[in-house]
């Protein structure tokens, strides 16, 4: 549950303290007197961090009076999701934080309740994966990695987060781009960032894949070599993207908010307006910068269409690996 990537945003928790201290300096019109925020993960994770960041910025701006938080963690959010659907149905003042991890976990866990059962409101942030090798690896750059993968996909073991997650799917897509089946890879799943990083640092595996922020310090210290990131544009000016390296793969770990099923259209409009106003605030831009989150704002039909394509891409890869 306490995976490093989810924890990276935990500092947002700290920022709720000043939010409590600052009197409601109402600068904008209050849109909700109270909003309940459902986090399908434990406190201290990435989803929790996003929820608390929304709380801080929107309360400081006076958009929302108070927030009630509820954390129900476990199994990539699939423990909390059915509870949100059952307890908040039809309510226009409830939001759930979720993201790409849940798209995958719903498929692999084969749970009856999925993201199609909740109402998409807005996508807010994203983080690209990075492919790294141990410092002493003979693989020097991304073309070397692709050549190794192409020649011997089974012999190039890659460490990452839990099976069926963003890292695993990213590897599946890269394998497909090299003319292999996603199944042929040697993906070694580790629980949490610590053991995975240890396996890469100790050169127990050929390479590793995970969120850029997770490996950033090891890359800076020269203990891991970054080969490529998986975003549409460079996340770090010094690391090329897969796309510019001739591999047509774009995949990020995105996070956003959802409303319960059965909300009335006018209530949904109100929630979308809240998120749009929040996104326009300078304080939000500041928050993204301090958290190292890339802005990935998207609402309405565009977000719904993105969700469909993300689910289709995820399902395709997971099916091919044999997980869905």
């Amino acid at each position: 549950m306490f995976n490093r990537r989810q924890l990276l945003a935990a500092p947002a928790l700290l920022l709720t303290a000043p939010a409590l201290l600052l009197a409601n300096t109402a600068r904008a019109e209050q849109r909700f007197p109270s909003l309940s925020m459902f986090i399908p993960a434990g406190p201290g994770g990435g989803w929790d961090g996003l929820g608390r960041a929304i709380e801080q910025v929107s309360r400081q701006a006076g958009l929302v009076g108070t927030f009630q938080f509820e954390n129900i963690g476990g199994a990539g959010g699939t423990v909390g999701l059915p509870r949100f659907v059952a307890s908040k149905r039809g309510r226009g003042d409830a939001l759930m934080v979720s993201g790409s991890i849940m798209v995958g976990s719903v498929l692999t866990n084969k749970t009856p309740v999925g993201l199609q059962n909740v109402t998409p409101v807005a996508r807010l942030t994203e983080e690209a994966d990075v492919i790294v090798v141990p410092a002493a690896s003979p693989i020097k750059d991304i073309s070397g990695f692709l050549a190794a993968l192409k020649a011997n996909p089974g012999g190039t073991s890659i460490a990452g987060g839990s099976a069926g997650g963003t890292d695993h799917i990213a590897l599946g897509l890269v394998l497909k781009s090299q003319g292999h089946s996603a199944r042929q890879g040697s993906y070694v799943a580790f629980a949490g960032g610590g053991p995975a990083q240890a396996a890469i640092l100790g050169a127990q595996v050929s390479a590793g894949m995970s969120g850029l922020s997770e490996f950033a310090e090891q890359i800076k210290a020269g203990r891991m070599r970054a080969l490529a990131t998986t975003g549409a544009t460079r996340s770090d000016p010094a690391i090329p993207t897969l796309k510019e390296s001739g591999v047509d793969v774009v995949i990020t770990n995105w996070r956003g908010v959802f409303a319960p099923p059965g909300v009335r259209p006018e209530a949904l409009t109100k929630l979308v307006a809240l998120m749009t106003e929040l996104h326009a605030l300078p304080a939000w831009a500041e928050m993204l910068k301090t958290r190292d989150w890339a802005d990935a704002f998207m609402v309405g039909d565009e977000f719904a269409r993105f969700l469909d394509s993300d689910r289709a891409q995820t399902e395709l890869v997971l099916k091919e690996i044999g997980l869905a």
Binding site: T78, F190, P195, G202
Partner: protein, 496 residues
């Protein structure tokens, strides 16, 4: 900066009045959360993150480390007195500790746990100060193949708790392995044996199972079989350790410490495995005149060793965090995120870039250790008096305590149903002489061994010889065979 300069700098920062205050608060909170089965140090630190926003980094980390060390002390108290382990590192302590308490030796058991924790905590902290970077580089050389072999070695320890009948003991072990399989499989992402219950996707909590087997099972059994209406008050006995107790404790403390620290440093180590190995070692090394105390009246060696091992392991867990920025436990992960909120990015350069903070933190670990032993030793008499409560009321209290603690794990009714179902099974296990400890050992080791084995086989592309061709792995497997066969062969040779 060498270790001595670092430490003197650290102590000059740590010994200010406000920092001592933070350490004291942390130790106190940590002891309290260690006592409750559901709440661990990770959750407590997560909940405290917002409060410490106002506090400068040094004070906050001293508080967190106090909580972390304190939880290790607190966990043993309920293990010994109530047979209700507060966290997974104290499960093994309950085996002998609770038996000692039942036989009027609660005081010495608590005292040896507290002093053993102090000794181990100090050795562990010395390890962080002087050996940290060296040990961690060595630990990185261990891959999944070595971890699997290490767990095979740990499985040998089951033989120490099998009891009279190997068949019954192995049945218990199999039950534990079965429970360990519940939940999402890490390597494939697929749910196993969850029966469509979403709460089971995350697996069954091992502390829950230990509480159900030890505390709930025992309580239900007594309620079932206890016929006479006389209220029995257990003897409390002497509070302090006798000369003999000291003589029997010091070696296990040291052995436990030296066993625990390296396990803590290992990225996939943890506090559970060294407690098992320590228990096994003490049982094998105990003086012949005390052998009969194991599993009957409770042997002090079986408390001293594992308690030292879990505290030394807790110190070891901080090593990869401080030297490489690797979060190898939930608590370390939360602490790392706290570093980030102060704008410090913990990584391989932490020691150089934040040397003042890191050394203050290490110095405060020494301080916390002394505080904890001072805080806990006088409490031994007070705690032991809990046993003066007449049995029916005491067991009712244990049941309430276990229930509240378990609900605290994830506020889920499913957990309570599990607690009482497994407790019910444990009641029958007690009735028909099935040992309960192998269940816990199977549950802890099973999933870890399975994942390590599959990770190793993925890396070796399905080649099983990887376990014997890698030197580290081969040595560990050899040790396991030796530990299993050695005593029997030795016995046969001796008998002629």
């Amino acid at each position: 900066m060498n270790a001595f300069d670092g430490l003197s700098l650290g102590f000059s920062h740590a010994l200010t009045l406000s920092n001592l205050g933070w350490a004291l608060l942390g130790c106190f909170l940590g002891t309290a959360v260690g006592v409750l089965p559901g709440i661990g140090p990770a959750l407590t630190i997560a909940l405290l993150l917002p409060i410490t926003f106002q506090v400068e980094a040094t004070g906050a980390f001293i508080l967190f480390c106090g909580i972390f060390y304190g939880a290790m002390y607190g966990g043993s108290t309920t293990s010994i007195l109530l047979n209700t382990p507060g966290e997974s590192g104290s499960i093994i302590t309950a085996l002998e500790g609770a038996k000692m308490a039942r036989n009027g030796r609660a005081g010495p058991a608590l005292a040896t746990a507290a002093i053993g924790s102090f000794v181990a905590g100090t050795i562990g902290t010395l390890g962080i100060s002087f050996l940290g970077p060296v040990v961690v580089e060595f630990a990185l050389k261990l891959g999944p193949a070595e971890y699997f072999s290490l767990m095979v070695l740990c499985f040998v320890t089951v033989s120490a708790v099998l009891g009279g009948s190997a068949l019954r003991g192995l049945t218990s072990l199999a039950f534990g392995l079965l429970l360990g399989l519940v939940g999402i499989d890490l390597q494939s992402g697929q749910p196993r044996m969850t029966f469509g219950i979403p709460e089971l996707l995350d697996g069954v909590n091992v502390v829950l199972v230990a509480v159900a087997l030890f505390a709930v099972g025992e309580t239900l059994f007594l309620a079932w079989r206890h016929h006479d209406n006389q209220a029995v008050v257990r003897p409390v006995g002497s509070i302090m350790m006798s000369r003999d107790d000291w003589k029997r404790s010091w070696k296990p403390w040291l052995r436990g410490s030296f066993l625990g620290f390296p396990f803590g440093v290992m990225p996939a180590g943890g506090t559970e495995m060294p407690t098992m190995l320590s228990y096994y070692a003490e049982r094998k090394l105990v003086a012949p005149e005390h052998v009969h105390e194991f599993g009957t009246t409770g042997a002090i060696e079986g408390v001293a060793g594992p308690e030292a091992a879990n505290n030394a392991a807790a110190a070891g867990i901080l090593v990869p965090m401080l030297t490489l920025g690797l979060p190898t436990s939930a608590t370390a992960a939360i602490m790392l995120s706290a570093f980030q909120s102060y704008g410090i990015n913990p990584g391989p350069m932490l020691f150089e870039q934040q040397s003042a903070l890191v050394w203050t933190l290490i110095a405060s670990l020494y301080v916390a250790n002394i505080m904890l032993v001072v805080l806990n030793l006088p409490l031994v008499g007070l705690w032991a008096r809990i046993l003066k409560i007449p049995q029916p009321q005491l067991y009712a209290g244990i049941l309430v305590f276990a229930t509240i603690g378990t609900y605290g794990i994830s506020n889920s009714v499913v957990d309570l149903v599990l607690l009482y179902s497994i407790g019910f099974v444990a009641m029958f296990m007690r009735r028909f002489d099935f040992p309960t400890a192998p269940v816990v050992i199977g549950m802890i080791l099973g999933p870890m061994a399975e994942q390590a084995m599959r990770q190793a086989l993925t890396i070796s592309q399905g080649d099983w010889t990887a376990f014997v061709t890698r030197p580290g792995s081969a040595v560990l497997l050899g040790l396991a065979v030796l530990a299993l066969v050695g005593p029997r062969v030795w016995g046969m040779v001796r008998r002629g």
